[in-house]
C-alpha cells in the first residue's frame, strides 16, 4: 500500500501556488489578457472609419494594436522610461503608449500605412507590460521596489489605485426563479446576455393564464414567446414546440402561447408585430428592418449579431422556456442566485475593456470629425494630426484616479491600503458586490456553502457593507478564459451531437449540452461525457481552467443538462483528485514540491491536483482529511486552512473563537501598525506609520510563511496577565507597564507628507519658492517666527523640529485674477503667501525633503515630517482575537504584579473581556506563546491543525510551569500574594492607528464660520464641541435657562440687528448720516436694537431673497 499522505504536509502545494502565482494573480491575469487580446478585439470590432468627404470619400482601416513600455514625456518633449518608484515620487502616471496601425483605403486602394500613437494605457504594476515583472529579486531592490510587493495596482498621478474585483451574476446563463408577489406565484427565466461592454437582460415570464411573455430591454412592450420564435425564423408550430421540448407534458403547457400568437402566423407577420412595438408608426419596410435589427443586436447578443445566428437564438430561447416549464412542473428547482457557480468576478482587465471601448469609440468619432473637417487637404500625416491622444489617456486616467466608471458606477477603484503589509494583500484580494448597500439583500449577504475555499468566511466589514464586500480565500484561483474552439472539438469527439442535426430520440431524452451560455447540442449520457471530459482534462488535453458540470433533474421526466464553462472570472479552488478511494497526491510528490523539484502546475498537468469551480464541485464529494476518504469520494481537500482569506488566516486558533471575533480581528489587523514596506525611507504616502521594533509573532500560523508576514510584521509579543487592576482596566481598557514603554514597547513613527508645487499661470506668472519677506508686500504674511526654519531656497532644513503652523515650504503666488482691482489698492502689485505649513494639531521632525519636477515642469517639493509616538493613555491596542482596548493607565514597574521569577507583565487585561466574547483562542495563544518562549521556537497556531493545548502543556510542565498557564503572582504595591493564581502568558499585540494625539481636542473660543458666524466643526478646524439637542433638553429640564442662553446664544452666534418697529423689517445704521435708517419707512421709522442669533438674521435675509417679507413684531419686555 502506498504511503498515506498526511493532511498537514499538503499545504506546501498551496505554498508553492501562492509563491509562484502571487496574491494578486487575479488582477495580473485579467490585465495581461486585456492588453494582449482584449485591446485588439475592441479595435477589430470597430474595424475602420469611413471619412465622408464630398469629393473623395475614403476609409481609415485599423490594423494591429500594440502597447509600448511605460514612459514619461517631460515638458520639453523628451521621453524616458520610468519605474514605479519615480512615478510615485513625482506624481506621474505609470502608463505606456498604445500604437495602432492605420491604413488609408481610397477607392479600394490601400496606401499610407502608418503607426499612430492613439493614447496611453495605465500599466498595472508587475503585469507583463511593467518593467518590474522581468526583474529578479536583487534587481527589484536596486530599482527601489519591495521584492515582496504583489503588484496588481495602478499608479495614477503618483497614487496607487486598485480596481477591486466586482462580483457579477454569471453572464449568458438561464436562471429560473419562482417569485411570490402578493400571494401569486410567478415563474421567471432570466438571462444576462453579455458581450464585452454590452449587456442585455432577457426575461421570460409565465403568466397566470399560461401565456409566456418575453421582455427585452430594446423593446418597450413584452412580446409573446411564439411570436418571437416565428420572427426568429422558426416556421412550423411543431418545430417551435420541439425546440422547447418534445415532451408532451411541456408541449401541453405551450398551448396557450400558440393561441395567443394566432395574430401573427408567419415570419413576416411576427416581424411586423414586433416592428409595430419597436418602431411604431413607421413604414412597414422600416418596421420589419427595425424588428430584425432588434432581434440581431438587442436580443441575446452573446450568441451573435448577425441574421445567421437567429436559429441559435431560437434554440436558446426554447431552452429557456423549457427550463421555465420544467420549473412549473416541479421537475427542477429554482436556481440559486447566491450559488457561487452562478457568479463571476470581474477584475481590472474586464473593467478596463469596458472603459477602453467607449474611449476608443470617442476617439474614432473625433477622428472622423477632424478628418472630414480638414477635407481634401491630404498628404503629410493627416491621420496622425486627426488623433487626439488625450481622449483615451484622459478617460482611462480619470476613471482610475476617481473610480468613476460612468453610467453611475462609482467607487470602482480605491486607494491601495498601505497601513501594513497584510492590509495591502487583503485589499488586493477584495471583492465587491454591485448590490445596493441600502437594501437589505439578506440572502446575498449570507455565507453560502459554495463560498468554502473561495471566499473567506470571516473577513467582511461590519455594518452596511456586511457580506457584500468579500475577500478571496487563500485557495481561490480565478479562471482565465479558455479558447472555445478546441474544447468544442473535444465534445464532438466524445459523442456530442449538434443541435442542428439531433436525432429525435436524443432530443427527447438526451442530455442538453451548454458551452459558456451557448446551447450547442445533445448527448445520450451526460454523466459519462462529464467523466470523459474530466479524464481528458486530467491528461492535460483540455485546459485546466475549463470546467464541466452535469446537472441531473429533480424529476426523471426533466432534462439532464451538462454545462461546460470556459469563461474568465469563475472562482476555482485546487483539490487533490481521489481515484478508487486513494488520493493521487503522494508523500513523495509533496517532498518534491517542498524541495522545488515539482511545482503545483506540474501536479495540475499530471491530473493530481484539479481546479474545481463551484458548479463542478456539485458533482464532487470532497473529503476533509485523508483518513475519511471512502470509495465515493472524488476529491480531497488540499489544506483546510486555505478556506480563510488573508486577514483571517493569521489568527491563531481561530476555531476556538466565537465566529464574529474572527471577523472583528480580520478588520482590525488592517489597522495595525507594522513594517509595511522596506521602501519606507523613500515612500511618499500622505500618511504612514512605522512600528519601530516590530516582531514576528511567537504563535504563528502557516500563512505567516505562506504570505511572508514574518518578514513584514505588524505587532509585538507582549507578556499579558489577565487581572483586574484598581479599576483602570474596566470596560476593555488595558494596563501597560511603564518600564516596557520606556524600553520601547510599541513605539511607532507617524509620517505625514506635505507637498508644494510651483505652478505656472497664464501670462507667464508663476509661484516662487522663497522665504517670504516682511517688506515685500505679501498678502497673508504670517510673521517672521513661522518662517524661521526655512533655508535660503525657501524649504525647511532637515531634522528640524517643527510645530503646528511652522512653514516648511515658503511659497508666494501671483495675485488671483479676481482680486486684481481693488478700489483702495495703492501699493501696486502684490504676491500672496501660499506657503505650506505644518498642520495646526501636529508636530514632529522634518524627516525627508524630496525635490523634484512635476510633469507640468514645475519644481516640486515633498516634505515628510515624522513624529515619534510613545504609547500613552488612550492609545488603542488589540490582540489577534478581536479584543481591542485603549490604555487606561501606564503603571510603574514597581507597582505592577510580578511572578515568582520576577516576570512583570507588559499588559494587563481585564478578565471580564472573556466570558461573553468567548475568545478562547486568545487563552490558547497565551499558553502557546509562553510555551514557545520557554522552548525557544515559535509555536504553530494554525486553525484546525495547530499545536494542541495538551502538547503545549507538556512543554510547560517540563520547564516547571503550570500547563494551565497560571502562576502565583504578587501585588507590586503591597508585596502580598494574590489569593488565586493568575493566568499569564505571551500574546501578540497589535498597535492600532487610532492614537489619542490625533484625536484629542478641546476649545474655549476660536474660529467661526464665515456664513453663519457659528463655531466651526471638527478638530482640524479647531471647532467647537456641539451642545446638541439632548444637552439642551437637560438644561431645560433642570431649569438652567441662563446657562442655556449662554451656550446657545451668547457664546455662539449672538448678533444685534436693527429692526424697524413700524414695518418689522431689518433696518441699518447709515454711517454717513450717522443715523439709523429703514428703507421702507424712511423718516417715520422707529428703530430698535434686537439681540438674535446670527443664524436667525441669516434666515430672515434668505427669506427676503425669496421674496418673503418676514416681519418682526416688537414689544417691550416688561
Amino acid at each position: 500500500m502506498s504511503k498515506q499522505i498526511r493532511q498537514l504536509d499538503s499545504w506546501v502545494v498551496l505554498q508553492d501556488l501562492l509563491e509562484k502565482e502571487g496574491v494578486a494573480r487575479q488582477h495580473l491575469n485579467s490585465y495581461n489578457e486585456f492588453y494582449s487580446r482584449g485591446l485588439q478585439s475592441i479595435v477589430d470590432e470597430m474595424g475602420e472609419v469611413e471619412v465622408e468627404t464630398v469629393s473623395t470619400p475614403y476609409k481609415v482601416k485599423f490594423g494591429k494594436i500594440e502597447v509600448g513600455r511605460p514612459r514619461v514625456i517631460e515638458i520639453d518633449g523628451s521621453v524616458s522610461n520610468v519605474f514605479p518608484v519615480e512615478t510615485r515620487l513625482r506624481n506621474l502616471s505609470y502608463a505606456a503608449p498604445i500604437y495602432l496601425d492605420m491604413t488609408i483605403e481610397e477607392e479600394g486602394l490601400q496606401r499610407e500605412a502608418t503607426r499612430q500613437h492613439v493614447g496611453d494605457l495605465p500599466v498595472m504594476v508587475k503585469s507583463e507590460l511593467c518593467q518590474l515583472s522581468k526583474l529578479a529579486k536583487e534587481q527589484l531592490i536596486s530599482a527601489g521596489e519591495d521584492p515582496n510587493d504583489p503588484g496588481g495596482y495602478f499608479i495614477i498621478n503618483g497614487s496607487e489605485r486598485v480596481i477591486v474585483g466586482l462580483e457579477d451574476l454569471s453572464p449568458n446563463k438561464i436562471l429560473v426563479d419562482l417569485e411570490k408577489t402578493g400571494g401569486v406565484f410567478s415563474y421567471k427565466a432570466r438571462v444576462y446576455s453579455s458581450v464585452v461592454g454590452y449587456r442585455s437582460k432577457l426575461e421570460a415570464t409565465l403568466k397566470q393564464d399560461g401565456g409566456i411573455n418575453i421582455k427585452v430591454p430594446s423593446c418597450p412592450i413584452d412580446l409573446p414567446f411564439v411570436i418571437v420564435m416565428r420572427a426568429l425564423g422558426i416556421k412550423s408550430d411543431k418545430e417551435i414546440a420541439n425546440s422547447v421540448s418534445p415532451k408532451p407534458e411541456i408541449q401541453d403547457l405551450l398551448e396557450v402561447s400558440f393561441d395567443k400568437a394566432s395574430e401573427a402566423p408567419t415570419e413576416k407577420d411576427a416581424l411586423v408585430y414586433i416592428g409595430n412595438r419597436v418602431a411604431h408608426g413607421m413604414l412597414e419596410e422600416f418596421r420589419i428592418k427595425r424588428a430584425q435589427s432588434m432581434l440581431d443586436w438587442g436580443f441575446l447578443p452573446h450568441l451573435g449579431k448577425t441574421d445567421e445566428k437567429r436559429y441559435d437564438k431560437a434554440m436558446f430561447l426554447g431552452e429557456a422556456i423549457a427550463k421555465l416549464m420544467e420549473l412549473r412542473l416541479g421537475w427542477i428547482q429554482p436556481d440559486d442566485k447566491d450559488h457561487y457557480g452562478n457568479k463571476v468576478i470581474k477584475f481590472a482587465g474586464q473593467m478596463l475593456a469596458d472603459l477602453f471601448r467607449t474611449a476608443f469609440r470617442n476617439l474614432v468619432r473625433d477622428m472622423k470629425y477632424q478628418l472630414e473637417r480638414t477635407g481634401q487637404k491630404r498628404g503629410g500625416n493627416v491621420v496622425g494630426a486627426a488623433i487626439r491622444t488625450g481622449i483615451i489617456t484622459d478617460k482611462l486616467n480619470n476613471a482610475i484616479a476617481t473610480g468613476n466608471w460612468g453610467r453611475g458606477k462609482v467607487g470602482v477603484t480605491q486607494l491601495l491600503d498601505r497601513t501594513n503589509y497584510l492590509s495591502t494583500l487583503s485589499h488586493l484580494r477584495r471583492v465587491q458586490s454591485p448590490l445596493s448597500r441600502s437594501q437589505p439583500n439578506f440572502e446575498a449577504r449570507d455565507l453560502h456553502a459554495t463560498h468554502f475555499g473561495r471566499i473567506c468566511p470571516c473577513e467582511t466589514p461590519e455594518g452596511v457593507n456586511c457580506g457584500l464586500v468579500k475577500n478571496l480565500a487563500l485557495s481561490a484561483i480565478i479562471s482565465v478564459s479558455v479558447p472555445a474552439a478546441e474544447v468544442e472539438e473535444r465534445l464532438w469527439e466524445l459523442g456530442a451531437k449538434s443541435i442542428r442535426d439531433v436525432p429525435d430520440k436524443l432530443a427527447l431524452d438526451g442530455t442538453r449540452i451548454f458551452m459558456d451560455g451557448r446551447f450547442i447540442g445533445f448527448v445520450d449520457d451526460g454523466e459519462r461525457l462529464a467523466k470523459a471530459f474530466r479524464k481528458l482534462r486530467r491528461e492535460g488535453q483540455i485546459n485546466p481552467s475549463a470546467s464541466v458540470m452535469h446537472y441531473p433533474p429533480l424529476n426523471k421526466r426533466g432534462y439532464s443538462r451538462l454545462y461546460v464553462s470556459l469563461s474568465a472570472g469563475r472562482v476555482m479552488r485546487p483539490l487533490i483528485v481521489v481515484e478508487g478511494g486513494k488520493p493521487l497526491l503522494t508523500q513523495e510528490m509533496i517532498t518534491k514540491v517542498a524541495s522545488a523539484e515539482l511545482s503545483w502546475r506540474d501536479l495540475v498537468e499530471r491530473g493530481v491536483v484539479e481546479l474545481i469551480d463551484a458548479n463542478e464541485e456539485e458533482n464532487s464529494l470532497v473529503s476533509m482529511s485523508a483518513e475519511e476518504i471512502t470509495s465515493r469520494h472524488t476529491h480531497l481537500e488540499l489544506y483546510p486552512g486555505a478556506m480563510f482569506g488573508i486577514s483571517a488566516s493569521v489568527i491563531p486558533y481561530p476555531e476556538h473563537n466565537q465566529s464574529p471575533r474572527n471577523t472583528y480581528e480580520s478588520a482590525m489587523a488592517k489597522q495595525s501598525l507594522g513594517f509595511s514596506s522596506p521602501t519606507f525611507p523613500l515612500s511618499t504616502f500622505v500618511r504612514q506609520h512605522l512600528l519601530v521594533t516590530p516582531q514576528s509573532a511567537l504563535v504563528r500560523t502557516k500563512s505567516t510563511d505562506l504570505l511572508k508576514i514574518a518578514e513584514r510584521p505588524l505587532g509585538t509579543n507582549a507578556v499579558v496577565a489577565v487581572l483586574s487592576f484598581e479599576g483602570y482596566n474596566i470596560e476593555d481598557a488595558i494596563i501597560m507597564n511603564k518600564s516596557s514603554v520606556d524600553r520601547g514597547f510599541a513605539r511607532s513613527f507617524f509620517y505625514r507628507l506635505y507637498e508644494a508645487e510651483a505652478k505656472q499661470y497664464l501670462g507667464g506668472m508663476r509661484d516662487t519658492f522663497e522665504v517670504p519677506s516682511p517688506d515685500s508686500n505679501i498678502r497673508g504674511y504670517r510673521g517672521e517666527k513661522f518662517y524661521r526654519l526655512l533655508e535660503a531656497d525657501g524649504v525647511v532644513m532637515h531634522e528640524a523640529q517643527v510645530q503646528g503652523g511652522d512653514v516648511m515650504v515658503g511659497r508666494t503666488s501671483p495675485p488671483r485674477f479676481m482680486e486684481e482691482y481693488k478700489e483702495f489698492e495703492i501699493k501696486g502689485p502684490y504676491r500672496r503667501d501660499t506657503s505650506v505649513a505644518v498642520r495646526p494639531t501636529e508636530s514632529g521632525v522634518v524627516d525627508a525633503v524630496f525635490m523634484t519636477e512635476s510633469v507640468e515642469g514645475g519644481k516640486m517639493f515633498k516634505v515628510r515630517v515624522r513624529d515619534m509616538r510613545i504609547p500613552e493613555i488612550g492609545d488603542k491596542f488589540a490582540s489577534r482575537h478581536g479584543q481591542k482596548g485603549v490604555i487606561g493607565l501606564v503603571v510603574p514597574q514597581e507597582d505592577m504584579p510580578y511572578t515568582e521569577d520576577g516576570v512583570v507583565p507588559d499588559v494587563i487585561i481585564n478578565p471580564h473581556a472573556f466570558p461573553s466574547r468567548m475568545t478562547v483562542g486568545q487563552f490558547i495563544e497565551s499558553i502557546a506563546g509562553k510555551a514557545a518562549s520557554l522552548r525557544g521556537t515559535p509555536a504553530d497556531g494554525t486553525g484546525f491543525v495547530g499545536e494542541t493545548v495538551e502538547d503545549l502543556g507538556k512543554i510547560m510542565k517540563e520547564r516547571g510551569f503550570e500547563p494551565t498557564g497560571r502562576e502565583i503572582m504578587y501585588d507590586g504595591k503591597t508585596g502580598k500574594k494574590f489569593a488565586v493564581d493568575i493566568f499569564i502568558g505571551v500574546v501578540y499585540y497589535q498597535k492600532l492607528h487610532h492614537m489619542v494625539v490625533d484625536k484629542i481636542h478641546a476649545r474655549a473660543r476660536g474660529q467661526v464660520q464665515m456664513l453663519t458666524k457659528q463655531p466651526t466643526e471638527g478638530r482640524a478646524r479647531g471647532g467647537g464641541l456641539r451642545f446638541g439637542e439632548m444637552e439642551r433638553d437637560c438644561l431645560i429640564a433642570y431649569g438652567a435657562s441662563m446657562v442655556l442662553k449662554d451656550r446657545l446664544l451668547d457664546e455662539a452666534d449672538k448678533a444685534e440687528v436693527y429692526v424697524c418697529e413700524k414695518c418689522g423689517l431689518i433696518a441699518y445704521y447709515d454711517a454717513k448720516q450717522r443715523r439709523y435708517a429703514c428703507k421702507v419707512d424712511g423718516d417715520s421709522a422707529k428703530i430698535s436694537t434686537v439681540v438674535v442669533a446670527y443664524a436667525f438674521k441669516l434666515l430672515l435675509q434668505e427669506m427676503m431673497s425669496l421674496n418673503i417679507a418676514p416681519r418682526l413684531r416688537l414689544r417691550d419686555k416688561v
Binding site: 520606556d742 513605539r747 510603574p892 514597574q893 514597581e894 510580578y898 520576577g902 504578587y970 508585596g975
Partner: protein, 235 residues
Amino acid sequence: MFLNPRPTSISNFSGSLTGELFDMLKVKVLEDAEDRVSLQLDGVDRSYANAVRRFCLSEVPSMAIDDVVILENSSVLYDEILAHRLGMLPLKTDLERYILPEKCDCGTPLGCQKCRVLLVLDASAHEKTRTVYSGDLVSEDREISPISASIPVVKLAPGQTVKLEAYARLGRGKEHAKWQPATVSVLLDGKSEDSFVLKVESSGVLRPKEIVTKAVEILEEKLKEMQKEVSAKVE
C-alpha cells in the same frame, strides 16, 4: 503611612533601620552570585520588605546615557531611536564617585566631573556592512562603560557614519526604566508570616548586594527625613 503593627514610635526612631527598628530581624543570605542575590528576611514587616524591593527598581541610582549630541548620523536609525538605544545600554556605575545631577552644585546643563560621564562614538562603515557595538563607545572614565562590549547599537551600510557625544548621568528607575539597576526584584512569601525572600537580579550596572544595601540606605534616609519633618511640625 506606617502600617507596622509593632509599637515603634516615630519620634523614637533614630539611627540605622536595620539595627534598631526590628528587634527580631534576621537576614540570611540564600544565594550570593555575580548577578543575583537572594536574601531571607525574617521578623520584618511586609511593607518594609516590599519597600526595599520597590526601591531596588525605582530609587537606587545608576548610570545611563541621558543626553546625546549627534554630530553626524547617516545610518538608517533616526537620531531619536539611536539615542533611545544608547540610553538602554547598561553602564557600570560607581555610586561613590558620582552624584545625582540634581544634587550637584555645578549648575551647568551638561554637568561636571562629579555628575556626568562623557562617552564618544565615532564609527563608520567602509567596504562592508558593519555593526556598531557598545564596545565602540569610548568613555572618558574607564570605569564607567557598558557592561558588555557586544551589545549591538546600529548597523551601518558602506558609506554611513555615526558620530556622537553621549552624556551619561545618574538617575532613578522611577524616572525612566534605563536607570533601573535591577532587572528582577521580587519579594516572595517565606515559610512563616514574617518571613520573606527577597530576590534581586542586577542588570550588571551595580553588584546585586550593592543594590539592596543602597535601597535600604535610601529607605532609611527617607524615613529620617520624614521623622525630621513630622517632629518639626508636631512640636
